[in-house]
Subunit: 323 residues, 2 copies
């Protein structure tokens, strides 16, 4: 699938729009992402020293913007990174969408990436520390292959993330829970999975707690007894995972719908024992897991549709999702 | 010290030289590192998905070039990264040094960085896979503050690297032992150390084995009994550390000088019990450790000079080090 996505992205990337944020352009400045923008001494490029968010924009409406900006600020706090204010990000994203509209080519499905790095090595500190890093927004039409994969069953492999479940608490310098640019391990785990016939990965700790996917959050569904609501659960954050913005949106809607919610340490055995397992992410939405290593998992397309509908409740002005 | 280095680097960086390597320029093409070179979709910049080496060049002679190219190839293997051939790197480095010479400004001490990333997201594969990534060499005058810190005693703190000593073997997707661009944790550990009054870090595994520094290798010296040679030891590589090129060069010379050599799992207690502890790296060379957390360690400037002299033996044409 990755190869197909890459091909499609190539076609689409012709239309990508970049918006830079700096002290002179606190509300953003359009750039062409096909032209070089970063110096080879940028600490994002040579140290993976920066953070990011990937958002989804449907029909010009950005999904969960506040949740993404909150998580960006949380990552910046963990990494002690300078961060432009929320109003700068909002203005830059608006400018990017406006640019598409002006060109008359606003795609229905946009992926919007927010990135900030620690800036250029050895550059003097900016007058305003909020703009000391290198910050940009990249708006790209969402790859067709990715949209088409929504709701499709996936086979996943459980991979050891190396650390145990207390590492996040005892060793803050490991930056667990921050969405940093140092993603080489996540990419390597995905390559390992594809090479072994899987579509995706669920990480676990070395002491056997379920964590998250390299680019997703794990959701478990237990069906209730006749007449009682289903129970939705997800691993607790204390084990050093990202707070999932999609998981958060689904949980909020599920609670309103009367579902039971649960957070907690989850073991691989509890994954297998769930009625259904899903991976949730901002652009791919919810993917039902049909196999965890050699354990087959039941897939229920109605339930996938139900979760997707819960997620759609979060849409501004109640606009329906098209999937 | 970092602030001072940054200031100096700023002055020096005026004179930095960049050399790009690609399919059209397999022997390198000079670029100005003050101009943007990388796209915001480069996987090095947005995923930390790439590898690097930092070499030292003294008086126009590159130190341990073969060892660095071997380690670069080893990192590429672990990360399954496309890598230009050694002859391209050699030619590009030569071109960069020549550029300094042509300008009449070849610095006595140069830091030479070799970097290759997985390339631009969604770009079609290059005809020659060796040039599918984004590759460059950056030559920068070595910061005066860094040169001045050579041989100076340092206080270090032992920090948990999160994983245990068997992680490298059981979970190759963690890329332990590869020198990747995903260095955010190394940078965070150094910040943590400075904030707590230390100069540097020695990482340990969660099960108590000594690993390496964020940018250095750990060396232990045990003085022999009267008339017997000293013993030099370093943590074994199986625990998931980088093979140190400086450690390798010192070990080779020490062996010729009749020292005893040792590799093995080392505990923090063994660190404390050593007569002397050093951190070794390519540009800073050897730094004697004067304190490990609250344990004072004896510093012997003659021994520091002796180790530096051993390292100097590795210099081509026996050129003496100037420190």
């Amino acid at each position: 699938m990755l190869a197909g996505m890459a091909e499609h992205f190539q076609e689409d990337s012709v239309a990508a729009v970049g918006v830079r944020i700096d002290a002179e352009h606190p509300h953003g400045m359009i750039f062409d992402p096909h032209q070089p923008q970063l110096r080879v001494t940028d600490l994002g490029a040579i140290r993976g020293d920066g953070i990011f968010e990937t958002m989804y924009c449907f029909g010009g409406e950005i999904r969960k913007l506040d949740a993404h900006l909150r998580r960006l600020a949380r990552s910046a706090g963990i990494c002690e990174l300078p961060l432009p204010p929320a109003e700068s990000w909002r203005a830059a994203v608006d400018l990017g969408i406006e640019e598409f509209s002006t060109r008359g080519t606003l795609p229905e499905h946009l992926t919007i990436k927010l990135v900030v790095t620690r800036g250029v090595e050895g550059e003097p500190a900016a007058d305003d520390p909020a703009f000391a890093g290198t910050a940009w927004v990249l708006l790209t039409p969402a790859p067709e292959a990715l949209l088409a994969s929504r709701g499709e069953p996936i086979a996943v492999t459980l991979l050891d993330r190396g650390h145990d479940s207390t590492a996040a608490e005892r060793a803050p310098w490991l930056l667990l829970g921050a969405k940093t640019l140092s993603y080489a391990v996540n990419m390597a785990a995905l390559r390992h999975a594809k090479q072994h016939g899987f579509d995706d990965v669920i990480f676990r700790t070395s002491d056997g707690q379920v964590l998250e996917g390299p680019t997703s959050t794990v959701l478990l569904v237990h069906r209730g007894a006749e007449g009682s609501p289903p129970r939705l659960s997800t691993p607790e954050r204390e084990s050093g995972i990202l707070p999932g913005t999609t998981q958060g949106a689904i949980f909020a809607a599920a609670e309103r719908a009367g579902w039971e919610l649960g957070y907690g340490p989850l073991t691989p055995e509890e994954l297998h024992a769930a009625d259904h397992v899903f991976l949730a992410s901002s652009v791919r939405l919810v993917s039902p897991v049909s196999r965890i290593d050699d354990v087959e998992m039941p897939v229920d397309h109605d339930l996938t549709a139900e979760l997707t509908a819960l997620l759609a409740e979060d849409l501004p002005v109640g606009r329906p999702l098209d999937d």
